[in-house]
Structures are given as C-alpha cells and as structure tokens.
C-alpha cells in the first residue's frame, strides 16, 4: 500500500494543513502516516519542517507536537532527519509565537533532553548538542526579554485547572490525561506493566493551546482590547528601554520612556472608559517605531556550536548592541507578519503582531477551525440527486404538543412512537415487558412537532439539516449532537418498509444518510465513521490510538502466526471488544465474560534477560511460545508462569504442583482450572518435535 514519496508527502501535507489546534486524533493520525511510511521519512520530515516554518504562528505549536509525537513514537529515521534542522525549526517558530506558546515550546524542549518514557532507550530524544544549542538560544532570548521587561503573558489569563471538564469537549488532550497512544513499543522493557500515562513523569509535554484557554474563558471585548493594548504598550516600553540603554544621553528617548511607563501604570492600575482607551491606543501606535523589515529570524549555522560567549550567531550580546538597530524581540516580533490573515487589517499602520483575542475568538468559534476533525473537503458528498430541496429545521413544538416529562420514560417513548406510527404498518414496537430507560432511544420531544410530517422523508431530511449537506459555503457548523440524536432515534421512519418483495424495491434514498451523514466523521485509514458529538470524537480518538498501536512494522519479523480458533465454550463466553470503548469497560466486560482463568490462559511478558529468554520450561524442556496479547498490550508467553526466577508452562507447573501438593501461585481459581484441565477435551498437548 505504500505510495511514492511525492504522494505520501502530499498526503502528509494535506493532513497537516488541517491541523490548527492541539488535536490528539489528528496528531495521532499524522504520526501514523509517518510511521507507516518510514521509507519516505525524508520527504515527510521536509514537509513537516516546511509546514512549521510557514504556518501561522498560532498553528505552529500543534505541528511542533506532530514533530514531537513522531520522534517519540516512531523515532529513527525521523529523529535523524528532523534533528538536522531542529535548531532552525524550533527557533524560527519560537521567535514568532506568543508567550504562552513559548512556554509550551520550552516544555517540549525539556522533554527532548530526556529519553522517551517507557522505552528501553536511555539516550535523550534528540542529541544533547542539538537541544543544548536551542536551550542556549532560548535562554538568551529570555534574558533579553527580561532585561527589556517585555511582559510575559500577552493575554494574561489564569490557567485552567487541568482537570476542567470543559476540556473533554475539545479533543485537546489535557496534560493530565493519557497522552499519545502508548505504542506497543517493542523497546519497552518487559516486566514493567504498561502504564497508560505515556508521559506521566514528564514536564508539560502537550499543554493546551493558548487560544483555547482563551476560548474556554471568553472575556468581554473591552478587556480584550485592554489586554491587546497592554501588550502593545509593553512592547513599546521594551523597545524604548533598549534604545535608552544604548543612548543614555538621548533626552527624547528618556522622556518618551517616562511617558510610556506612566501610561503603563495607569493602564495597570485604573479602569479607563473605552474612549480614553482608544485615545491611549492611538497614542501608543503613533509612538511605535516602524518595524524593521526583517524576515523571520534565521540563524545561519544552526548545527554548529555557538561562538565564544555561548551566544547564538545572529544574536549579538546585549551589552554590545550596535547603537543603530538593536534587534530586540519586540522588533523581531514586529517584523513578522502572519502569512495569512483571515481578517483584513483595516489599519494601514503597522501593528505589532500581537494576537487579537477577538480575532482569535472569531476564528476559534468559526466552524472549520473549531471542529477538531474537520470533514476533509473532497469527501463532502455532493448533493443527492434524488432529494427534494432542503427544508428548514423543524419548528420547535408548541409547548402543548410536547408530552410532559413523564416519570415513566417508557410511556413517554411509547407515546412518541405511537404518534409516528402509520396505521397499517408493523405493530408499534412497544414492549410488553418493562423497559429500562437506558435501553430506550433518546427521542427529543420536539421531534414530534409540527413541520413536515414526522417520520416522512422531508422530516428526516430536515432533521438531518446541517449534517446531510456537508459544510455549506457560509461555514455554518455541522449541526452537532442534538441533530444526530434526533436522527438515531426514530424507529418509525423505517416502519414503512415491509418485509415484502415489493417493498424492497421502493427507492428510499433518504435513508442512506443513516449510513453516511449521521456519522460525518470518517477515519481516513479504514473508513469507519463516527458521530460528530463529543462522544463520537472520543471514540474516534480511541480508534486512532488503536490504529497506531496495531501498526507494528516489526511484527512480521517476529514470526507472527495464525492462532488456534476458540473452543466452543470460549466462543460462547466471548464478547467482542470494540477498540472505541474505553479500556476499562472492555476489561470489565472481559473479566465478566471469563471469570475463570485457566492455567493455559496465564502468561508472562517476554523476559528481557537473555538467559531467561532462551531457557525452556524446566519441566518439559519445551520453549515458550511468543504471542501478542491484547490485554497486556505486549508480546507475552502464553501458558506461562514465573515462580522463583524461573518461568514454567502454567499447565506444566499445575501438573507438577498437583503432585507435589504445592498451591499454584496466586491463582484463586486453580482448583477450577485443574478440574478443567483434567476433563479437558484434548487439551493435553501432543508434543511434536520441531525441526
């Protein structure tokens, strides 16, 4: 399935283009592409570097996280390719991003100095000389910034508590949730139980994006402007301070600086009416220096060590700044213009590229960017030919028509279903037996409202509304969960299909949306669809994790083989495991399904110790069989048991311990297991020599 490099690179680029926020599914997906195409690592690495360089500052962090995820989860050869230009990739971005992003990047940098958690690898993610250079440069910049008193946060908002529930609605992984999928990392030492927290011990590795913080605590516009203004002012102060430092004799600069500082104090301590604020802003802007037409900062020789003073080339020591044009942060920042501006800038005056929170909010709440998994454009189904023209959303039901929230939800449901039922159709699905509320489909009351006849094609179409049409040109967001719920509920829509030959032939194209648009969010790898609801997104995230886990390029070399089929009894007790259900659920279901653990089901992780690795079972002298185990998420020896530093076949040990009167170690159900083994149908293996 691998494609030529250019095509892979193009795919990767396309996927990157959509990445505008810290979205774990998207980052996992990109990592997966990289992992599946290691033969094109160079092309992919170049693509990623280009993207980080050219994308807007506020979108740089997510793509840096892609880089991070790839080097940590896939490793070589990406570490090599991306390491080559890392200084430049990192520093170019660092210089143009806001303060919060810088902090996040510094956190990222710290993790690169350590080894990948849970891996056998003890070396750091990137070589020390690479991270060291970056760190030096970062420190320099911070020193300069501190000296010139650039205020740290541009939009100083309190950090959200990490466990805030609101985060669950975004697909951003809060830093205390499990991070990237713990890959079934063959490098992970056996014997360590898999920890779900991939980066548990690490410093902030995937912190939330700054503008999402803002999104989560929107502020009134005036304070937004104020924050902007303060940032602008602070930069101006900084610039002026630098100038003053180099021209202590210049009275003009001194006066200006004093004025600015008092202005700053006023802003910091008093609340000004809007008009005054506007005046201040005008003032500040008029004072702002014309930005130096510097391109984005680019150190000329990134991979070499720094000159004597340990200062990165291109960063003159602070004390030795040439009097003419001190290239301080503010100016560098000012020189940068985000490549794409969604909102045209009306002011011809050059503006420092502070991020206008209002703009950000607009962007965040606009559909294409707020949806963490935007539907890829080419897969918007074209309007259906057989469809009647779209109908407006059903009018909300008049209050009287809404069945009262009955204490008995069953009755409620039954009533609704009865309303939908057409006479002569299949009898209404009202059960004679009591129904648990949880088992009933959720049927919002207003679905039984006026508008198109409930249950009719038009009604369904209308209910589908936003979902059936893809993203309209005007950017109306997908009608998220309330719509989707409505659709999934009404059984009655199907009631006009009778089990007759004639009924099967009637065209009912409107029903097809149940197979497509109801779940607008498709997995690009396997085609599985998910609802555009928080739950659907969670499912997709787990699904992507799963893809990532099973993609093990080395598996084939390990001698993976077909397993024996399940026995009848096991099959009857077996319950399917859906990779999109939370692991805990799956585990409980499993343990419920298989309460008794037989000796042959016991396993140990394949030992690291080479001596143990090659030692046969001390009892029967047979080697152990290496097998992938889904529960352990690792390669294991089945039918194995570790006792006193040796590994035995669990069944062998069971036989032996039975004779010797030794209890099976920590097997509360060993008696059952034994009985099973004795009565077992042909469980006793016939041993056949391998050759």
């Amino acid at each position: 399935m691998s494609l030529p490099a250019a095509e892979v690179a193009a795919d990767f680029r396309d996927a990157l283009q959509d990445l505008r926020m810290n979205s774990r599914p998207e980052i996992s997906n990109l990592t997966l592409i990289a992992k599946e195409n290691t033969e094109y690592a160079q092309a992919i690495s170049t693509e990623l570097e280009n993207h980080i360089r050219t994308t807007r500052p506020e979108w740089k962090l997510p793509s840096l996280y892609v880089l991070d995820s790839i080097v940590k989860n896939v490793g070589t050869p990406y570490t090599v390719y991306l390491g080559r230009n890392l200084y430049r990739t990192f520093m170019d971005a660092y210089l143009v991003v806001d303060q919060a992003t810088r902090k996040a990047m510094e956190g990222l940098l710290r993790t690169w100095k350590q080894s990948v958690p849970e891996s056998m690898e003890t070396r750091p993610v990137f070589p020390a000389n690479v991270t060291g250079d970056i760190e030096n440069a970062v420190n320099k910049i911070r020193t300069v910034a501190a000296q010139t008193q650039v205020p740290r946060p541009m939009h100083a908002l309190p950090a959200r508590p990490p466990s805030n529930v609101a985060w669950r609605d975004t697909s951003t992984p809060p830093q205390n949730l499990p991070r990237y999928p713990a890959p079934n990392d063959p490098r992970r030492p056996a014997g360590f139980p898999p920890t779900p927290q991939y980066g548990a011990s690490m410093p902030v590795a995937t912190p939330p994006m700054p503008f999402q913080q803002q999104f989560n605590s929107p502020q009134p516009m005036s304070s937004v402007d104020l924050a902007d203004l303060k940032a602008e002012l602070a930069q101006l102060v900084a610039t002026t301070q630098t100038s003053f430092a180099h021209n202590p004799a210049d009275r003009d600069i001194q006066t200006k600086l004093q004025a600015l500082l008092s202005l700053k104090q006023i802003l910091d301590t008093q609340t000004l009416p809007p008009q005054q604020l506007e005046a201040v802003r005008k003032q500040v802007r008029s004072l702002a220096p014309t930005p130096a037409p510097l391109p984005a900062f680019a150190p000329p020789t990134p991979l070499q060590g720094f000159p004597q003073h340990g200062i990165p080339p291109g960063f003159p020591p602070v004390g030795a700044l040439p009097a003419s044009a001190p290239p301080n942060i503010a100016q560098l920042l000012a020189g940068f213009r985000p490549p794409v501006q969604t909102t045209p800038q009306p002011a011809p005056t050059p503006q420092p590229p502070t991020f206008n929170l209002a703009d950000l909010l607009k962007r965040v709440s606009s559909p294409t960017q707020s949806s963490s998994v935007p539907a890829p454009a080419p897969f918007q189904p074209p309007p259906f030919t057989g469809f009647p023209p779209p109908i407006t959303t059903p009018v909300p039901a008049p209050a009287a028509a809404v069945p009262p929230a009955a204490a008995n939800p069953t009755a409620n449901l039954a009533a609704l279903l009865a309303q939908f039922n057409k006479p002569g159709a299949v009898p209404p699905p009202v059960p004679a037996t009591p129904v648990q509320p949880m088992a009933t489909p959720q049927l919002p009351p207003q679905s039984a409202s006026s508008g198109p006849a409930p249950g009719s094609a038009e009604w369904l179409l209308a209910a589908l509304g936003g979902t059936s049409r893809g993203t309209p040109a005007n950017g109306t967001p997908f009608a998220a969960q309330p719509m989707a719920r409505q659709i999934s509920a009404p059984t009655n829509v199907l009631n006009d299909i009778e089990f007759t030959t004639a009924s099967m032939k009637k065209p009912r194209l409107h029903l097809i949306s149940r197979l497509y648009e109801v779940k607008p969010n498709i997995c690009a790898t396997c085609g599985r669809r998910f609802e555009n609801t928080p739950e659907g997104k969670e499912k997709k995230a787990r699904h992507m994790d799963w893809h990532f886990k099973v993609k093990d390029p080395d598996a084939a070399k390990r001698g993976v083989h077909r397993s024996w089929y399940m026995s009848e009894k096991d099959w009857i007790d077996y319950r399917e495991v859906d990779e999109t259900t939370p692991a805990t659920n799956a585990a409980t279901t499993n343990s419920v399904a298989k309460p008794k653990r037989q000796a042959k089901d016991r396993y140990v992780l394949v030992p690291q110790d080479p001596a143990l690795q090659h030692a046969p079972c001390p009892i029967c002298q047979e080697k152990f069989e290496t097998q992938w185990n889904v529960d352990a998420n690792d390669f294991v020896w089945m039918d194995a048991l570790q006792v006193g530093g040796k590994i035995y076949h669990a069944t062998c040990f069971e036989e032996y311990s039975k004779g010797a009167g030794i209890p099976m170690p920590s097997t509360p159900d060993s008696v059952l297991g034994k009985r099973k083994a004795e009565n077992g149908v042909g469980v006793e293996g016939k041993k056949v020599r391998s050759f």
């Binding site: 094109y40 690592a41 299909i497 032939k505 992938w628 149908v681 293996g685």
Partner: protein, 466 residues
C-alpha cells in the same frame, strides 16, 4: 530489536527508485447510484483509491487515504453519492453499471434495523432478525450477506454471520462451517477479514467458531444437518448471554446446492430455518425458488412467521469457473497459513510420527453401498459408529488438510463430528518407510493430540510448501 530504516544506508534512499511501475493510474468517475464492476485475475493486481465522494465495496466504505489492492477478485465498488476513483494495475474486464439491486439491499438492511431497534426497545427480550440467504450458486448470496453485515456494523450493531457453504470459507478454509460476530469493519481486501493471529492486526481480527464439514456440498444425511443443529445450539447459547449480538441478530450464508431442492422440497433449507429460528428468508433470483419457499412457509402456523422475500440477482454476479473457484480456495488456504499480502504469517514446519496422528476420514454416502443415504433411510454404516473411518497415514495424505478437532480420539463419532475445530494442519510429505509425516502447522510448538478429521473437501492443495 528496533530496526533503523535509513540509518544504515550510506545515502538517503532515492525517492525515484521506489516508484512502482504500476503507479500509472487512471481516473474513474462514478455517478451517484452506479457501480464499477471489475474482474482481476490472481496474477494481477488492481489498486483502487477513493479520490473524492463516497464509495463502498459490498457495504464497507472505502477510506479516503488508503489504497486498496485486489487480486483474484470479482467485485463492484458502488457509490450512493457519486465519486472519483483512482485505479491502477490490470483488470481482466471492467465496466460501470447503472442498474444495480443496491436499493433493495439497503431497504433490506433498514428493514432489519427496524427489527433490531425492536429488540433494543424490548431490552433484548426479543431477538434481533434471523436471516437466511438462499439462491443458486453465484446468485450473489455472499455479496448480499457481506453488504448486510457491513451496513449493520456501520449502524453500530454487532451482527453474527454464519457460513453454511463449504465451498468458500468464512474466516477459515473451504470445507469448514463457521460463525462469527462482527463488531468491526469487514475487511475489503481479505474477504471477511482475518481470524486471530499472534500479533497485532491492522484490521481488527474476527473470532470465528469453526466446525469441519469436509464435503463439497451439503448432503441430507449424517453430517450436514447434525452440524447445523450443533451450530445453532452454540449460536443460540451465545446470543442468550451476549446482548449486543442478540439485538443485532444474524445472517446465514448458504450453499447454492441447498436451493436446488428435490421436487420442490428443500430439506436443508427447512432444517436451517427451524434450527436457527429464521424469520427472514431471502431468496435471490429464481422465481421458482421464491414461489416454492413462500408457499411452504406462509402455510406455517403463525406463531413464528417466516417472511420470504425475493431480491433480484445483480447483473454483476458472474459465474465463476471451476478453475477460478479452485484458485480461490487455494488462496483461502494459503491465507490461513501465510496471511494476506503484507501481513505475512509464519507457519511452522514440523515432523510427526504416524502414531501421533489420529486421523478420521469421512465416509461418504456413495461408498457405503447405499446410493442416497438419507438420514431416514436405514443404513448399517451410519448407526452411530461409522461416520468416519480411522486411517493410518499413507502417501495419499500428501497435500491434504487435516482438521484438528477438540474431541478426543476415543470419543464417539458423533462427538468428533460435533466438536469445533482448533485449526488446520497441512500434510506436506509422508515418509511411509520411516513412518513420519512432515506437516505445516499454523502455530509453533505442540498441537493438540485430539482427533483429526480428513474429508474429501477441500481438494488437495499442491505446493503449499516446497
């Protein structure tokens, strides 16, 4: 150890080298509600990639960023909304068809959904739909079963699929009968997908329950019906406890031969309907079959109605030559041992002494001296002792598949027949002088010393191992 791609190369790999010659692709536009039908031989590959729109292969949606490869396949890619496909490789033939029975297939699915919803509403007291698909060979039964399964999975259900056609395996080799619940997507490239392997799998594996039948066609005697009864028991037991499966119900795929009937009597169909409590009986194609069956089942007492429905045969269904079918069977057997495509499996080669193998060969009716050994007929050869004949390995075993059952060699024949199988081993070579057999086993290490069944089906597979 970790492999270090790219690191041990002197120079970075040149990208042009890896461009396969088959990368010359062509675009295929498909209007809404049409399908692209193709036949591709076993020695060629067709690659398909969805460029825009939506498309599905027997109900399973094509993923936007995956290129699918087909070999030895006759099939169709259908689109409800219209799409653009990127095709590569070589086909034997292909064309776009505007007339398809897909609307009927979808209607059938939605009708089944209604019954599933009812099961959910009844809190699983009612069972979901029990569907049996019948029709002549190559009528499109398997294609329909697949589409219904995919749609059900897509609708968040967990349908069970039961294969009662020994000519083509479901998650196993031909000659087997099997059942599996589908909670994850049906593989597009690998038939129904893969049964469990010892490592991770890029498409979730399915967990089949497998029985060995060992004959080409269902007879009406001592093997097929009892096996159907046994499977129905196992499936019903599972559904009793497995809510998700119970709500979704099941779909049974069948062999064309049971739809031939004898003077309008379809014993095996009736047997399946009653053992599995089938309530939706789909006939594909033949008006005659539909008429016979609807007469038969509409006259039944109405405590359990069987809805008999006829669906048109798709114009895309192609008669598959015996040669093609044989190649298909061989590829199924090969896949069992060696995996599919890039997901290669490593079976184990091993030797066994004659004494290690307890082989039971199926005695076929025509061997017993009674031309048509129906169960009702008196047959001294089938009075509970001689379903099988125990044999010593000989060179005639070469290239044959042995089913490893879960029964002990000392069990009664009925027990051996009714026991599910653990897997299959392949006899690569028999050394009569040394009394040794060279075997290919899916798994390394010991295999169960249980009874092994040898049937006349599938036929010998030459050259599975050299």
């Amino acid at each position: 150890m970790i492999s270090l791609p790219g690191l041990n190369l002197a120079a970075p790999p040149t990208e042009t080298l890896s461009v396969p010659t088959s990368s010359i692709t062509r675009e295929q536009d498909l209007p809404a509600n049409t399908e692209y039908r193709f036949e591709v031989s076993f020695s060629r590959t067709l690659t398909v990639r969805l460029r825009s729109g939506t498309a599905e292969y027997f109900g399973t949606e094509l993923a936007p960023s995956t290129t699918y490869s087909f070999q030895g396949t006759k099939g169709a890619i259908y689109t409800w909304h219209g799409c653009k496909l990127e095709l590569g490789g070589q086909v034997e033939s292909d064309y776009v068809a505007e007339e398809t029975p897909m609307m009927s297939h979808a209607n059938l699915h939605f009708a089944l959904e209604m019954l599933r919803d009812r099961s959910v509403v009844s809190n699983s007291v009612e069972m979901g739909p029990r569907v049996l698909v019948v029709g002549a060979e190559n009528a499109g039964k398997t294609a329909l079963v697949k589409t219904l399964t995919s749609y059900a999975v897509k609708s968040g259900r967990q349908p069970m699929v039961i294969n009662l056609d020994p000519r083509q395996g479901l998650l196993s080799v031909p000659g087997s009968l099997s059942a599996a619940a589908f909670s994850s997507i049906v593989d597009i490239e690998e038939g129904w997908g893969s049964s469990p392997i010892s490592g991770p799998s890029p498409v979730p594996v399915k967990m089949p329950l497998v029985y060995h039948y060992g004959l080409k066609d269902p007879e009406e005697g001592k093997l097929f019906k009892p096996l159907v009864t046994r499977m129905a028991l196992a499936v019903t037991s599972r559904l009793e406890e497995d809510k998700a499966s119970k709500q979704a119900g099941f779909v049974i795929d069948s062999s064309g031969t049971i739809s031939a009937g004898k003077a309008g009597v379809y014993e095996n169909i009736e047997h399946i309907v009653s053992e599995f409590s089938v309530n939706v009986l789909i006939t594909i194609g033949s008006e005659r079959l539909y008429s016979d069956l609807s007469r038969k089942f509409s006259n039944r007492s109405s405590d359990e109605t069987v809805n008999v429905i006829r669906i048109d045969k798709s114009g895309g269904c192609v008669d598959r030559s015996e040669e093609y079918m044989k190649a298909l069977r061989h590829s199924q057997i090969r896949e069992y041992f060696f995996g599919h495509g890039e997901d290669a499996l490593a079976p184990s080669s091993m030797t066994a002494d004659f004494g290690d193998l307890n082989i039971f060969r199926v005695i076929e009716n025509d061997e017993s001296g009674f031309a048509a050994g129906d169960a009702e007929d008196y047959n001294p050869a089938s009075t509970g002792v001689s379903i099988y004949e125990r044999i010593t390995p000989s060179s005639t075993l070469t290239n044959k598949l042995l089913a490893i059952t879960t029964a002990s060699p000392n069990d009664k024949h009925e027990v051996i027949r009714d026991s599910s199988v653990r897997g299959y081993i392949y006899v690569a070579d028999v050394d009569e002088a040394k009394r040794k057999v060279r075997l290919l086993s899916p798994q390394p290490g010991h295999f169960p010393g249980s009874a092994m069944v040898l049937g006349s089906w599938p036929e010998d597979v030459a050259g599975l191992v050299s």
